[in-house]
């Protein structure tokens, strides 16, 4: 039970990072972006490419950090993955979403995002192969926190959780304390009024994609680090990430942060009562429950 709770918190941190970017894009551009989870996949694979590259170029970096399986090379690779994934998110907007948007076919954006997700997922499969991969072949033994009940925690998991929480705190400060944060929220709230106040809408959209992409890449690498890397990461995570945004209320960044943890913990606790084969359905049950009880989510407000 406690083990499930701990695992849930970890998965929740990853989902939170993914859901934050998604909720910003959904709020600002008003469409359910089914290709967002593929950004996690892109991030995981970029890091997989650059990690050995850094190790080969700078052997100094291949030292492990303390008890972690993570090396400094992987840390550098995460930064590269965040940058490249952020850029590819902007690129997808330029290539597909902006052009569909400018045609006035806003409802078609959902279709476009599905099509794009199919292309990204399967191109990754074609380039990297369909089998699973890992960042490190070394086995990192879990630390036994307690024997009865048996609770195991891997050092990697603790590190991932710590970094994710730090990023979320930074994000919160940025949104609530800086002019940029106000501008971002203003655009999401009322794009026309924000433009009257001299906020450049086009630039804000680019920034939202950059931020969403970078957070997604981080979530993707963390997911790969604590699970494994496959081309179907996006397919497996798209529903949990959406569930997190709905729990928090679409458009609420704080809601998405909290929603990620709610979904992660609920999905893991559900495994106590449900056979594990049913775990892909759990996010859908959470969505149904939220729609029944509080359709606009924990922090969302009603908006047509």
């Amino acid at each position: 039970m406690i083990q499930h709770l701990l695992d849930g918190i970890l998965v929740g941190a990853i989902l939170s990072l993914g859901a934050t970017g998604l909720t910003m894009v959904m709020h600002m551009l008003r469409f359910a972006n089914f290709s967002h989870a593929e950004l996690l996949s892109i991030g995981a694979y970029v890091a997989l490419v650059f990690d050995p590259l850094f190790k080969a170029l700078l052997p100094l970096l291949s030292a492990q950090i303390g008890p972690l399986s993570m090396t400094w090379a992987l840390v550098a690779a995460i930064l590269v993955a965040m940058a490249l994934t952020a850029l590819s998110a902007v690129l997808f907007d330029r290539l597909v979403f902006r052009r569909v948007r400018e045609k006035g076919e806003e409802l078609s954006m959902v279709f476009a995002s599905f099509g794009l997700a199919l292309i990204i997922r399967n191109v990754i499969g074609l380039v990297f192969g369909l089998h699973t991969k890992l960042y490190s072949q070394d086995i990192v033994f879990a630390t036994v926190l307690s024997r009865d009940p048996l609770i195991l925690v891997k050092p990697d998991q603790v590190a991932v959780l710590g970094v994710a929480l730090a990023v979320m705190a930074a994000l919160h400060l940025m949104l609530s304390r800086t002019t940029f944060g106000y501008a971002l929220r203003a655009v999401a709230e009322n794009p026309a009024l924000a433009q009257v106040n001299g906020i450049n809408l086009g630039r804000m959209i680019v920034i939202v994609w950059l931020l969403g992409g970078a957070l997604a890449a981080m979530a993707g690498v963390f997911y790969g680090l604590t699970n494994q890397i496959t081309p179907v990461i996006g397919r497996d995570l798209v529903l949990p990430v959406f569930a997190a945004t709905i729990v928090g209320g679409i458009g609420s960044i704080h809601g998405a942060l909290l929603g990620g943890f709610v979904v992660g913990i609920a999905a893991n606790l559900a495994l106590v009562v449900l056979p594990s084969g049913y775990s892909p359905s759990v996010p859908f049950l959470i969505i149904l429950a939220v729609l029944l009880v509080r359709p606009n989510g924990l922090f969302g407000e009603e908006r047509a």
Partner: protein, 325 residues
């Protein structure tokens, strides 16, 4: 020669069955602007419902009610409608992303449930023990397939004609009014949420019919038949044909199904052995490119919707507009 003819019969049967599902999606997306991300769940509810109601008793899963075939088919359609009603009631009063996410979720959960709940749908092994109707009279050969094709075509024409009538009726005008300007429709005393629900359930019942026919044709259904790829295929059919008109939906179904089977055949024939594992991925990329490409370069589809100026109703007052406001 007989091989080619019997393949053509097989191909036309499957394409016509899928065309029925595309017509259902057209009512939802083309006429009403409702995004259904889980076509396959409603298709699957029809397929499983029909086989469970019309099958012979099986020891290891639910079913074997041995209802007369048409009753079983209606039962499958009702199952699809009930599922759509549940999802629709919860989501249709919220902003449109909720429907997209919830329908996508229902498809994931449906496939997951059918794969795991062995007592319900036979699990991964699928649902067996269904006797195709009129088998004694027609045998199980070419004649049977021909007769079944005729039955499917009758269903297709019936659905096609009744949807055309529905869209030409005041109800169809209402659907377009809601799609184009919900506030204006509401100001005229219409209830968009209720009308959307009606359109959503009706479209899903049609998808259920398509699923029921599909399951009858193979006398078998398994979780492999309700994978998300079917949803993507049916969308591609609608987008290529042109959302908003029934002729485009049916043409799109035949075109895309032909392209899909031809690309599958070509890849399995000509791709090197070591690449065979990846032919599925290549087909997925192709279907993704078709969807995105059509949206970028020809969003109105190959056969655009003909918007009728309903006040005059004269032939001369027609205009072919592709773009929607």
């Amino acid at each position: 020669m007989i091989g080619v003819v019997s393949y053509l019969v097989f191909f036309t049967t499957v394409a016509a069955i899928l065309a029925i599902a595309v017509l259902g999606l057209n009512l939802q997306w083309g006429n009403t602007g409702l995004f259904n991300g889980g076509v396959v769940a409603f298709f699957g509810a029809g397929a499983y419902g029909t086989l469970i109601l019309g099958g012979t008793p099986q020891p290891d899963h639910l079913g074997g009610f041995e209802l007369p075939y048409l009753l079983a088919l209606l039962g499958g359609m009702a199952a699809a409608g009930a599922l759509a009603w549940g999802v629709g009631v919860l989501t249709l009063r919220l902003r449109h992303d909720y429907l997209a996410i919830a329908t996508f979720g229902v498809a994931v959960a449906f496939e997951n449930l059918m794969r795991n709940a062995e007592a319900l749908g036979g699990g991964a092994k699928g649902l067996r023990g269904f006797e195709r109707p009129l088998r004694e009279a027609l045998g199980s050969g070419f004649l049977y397939n021909l007769a079944f094709l005729a039955f499917v075509l009758v269903c297709l024409v019936l659905v096609w004609r009744s949807l055309d009538r529905l869209v030409a009726s005041p109800f169809g005008r209402l659907l377009r009014a809601i799609r184009e300007d919900e506030t204006a429709a509401r100001s005229l005393g219409k209830s968009p949420a209720r009308i959307r629900l009606t359109a959503f359930v009706t479209g899903s019942v049609i998808m259920g019919l398509s699923g029921g026919l599909y399951a009858t044709f193979y006398a078998f259904v398994s979780p492999q038949d309700v994978l998300p790829v079917l949803t993507f295929q049916i969308w591609a059919m609608l987008i290529v044909g042109g959302a908003g008109n029934t002729r485009g939906a049916v043409m799109g179904a035949f075109l895309i199904w032909a392209a899909w089977t031809a690309s599958g055949w070509g890849l399995s024939r000509f791709a090197p052995v070591e690449a065979q594992l990846y032919t599925g991925s290549i087909q997925y990329v192709l279907i993704g490119l078709v969807i995105v490409g059509m949206l970028l370069w020809r969003p109105q589809g190959l056969f655009p919707e003909r918007l009728v100026v309903s006040q005059s109703g004269r032939e001369g007052a027609r205009s072919t507009q592709g773009e929607r406001q």
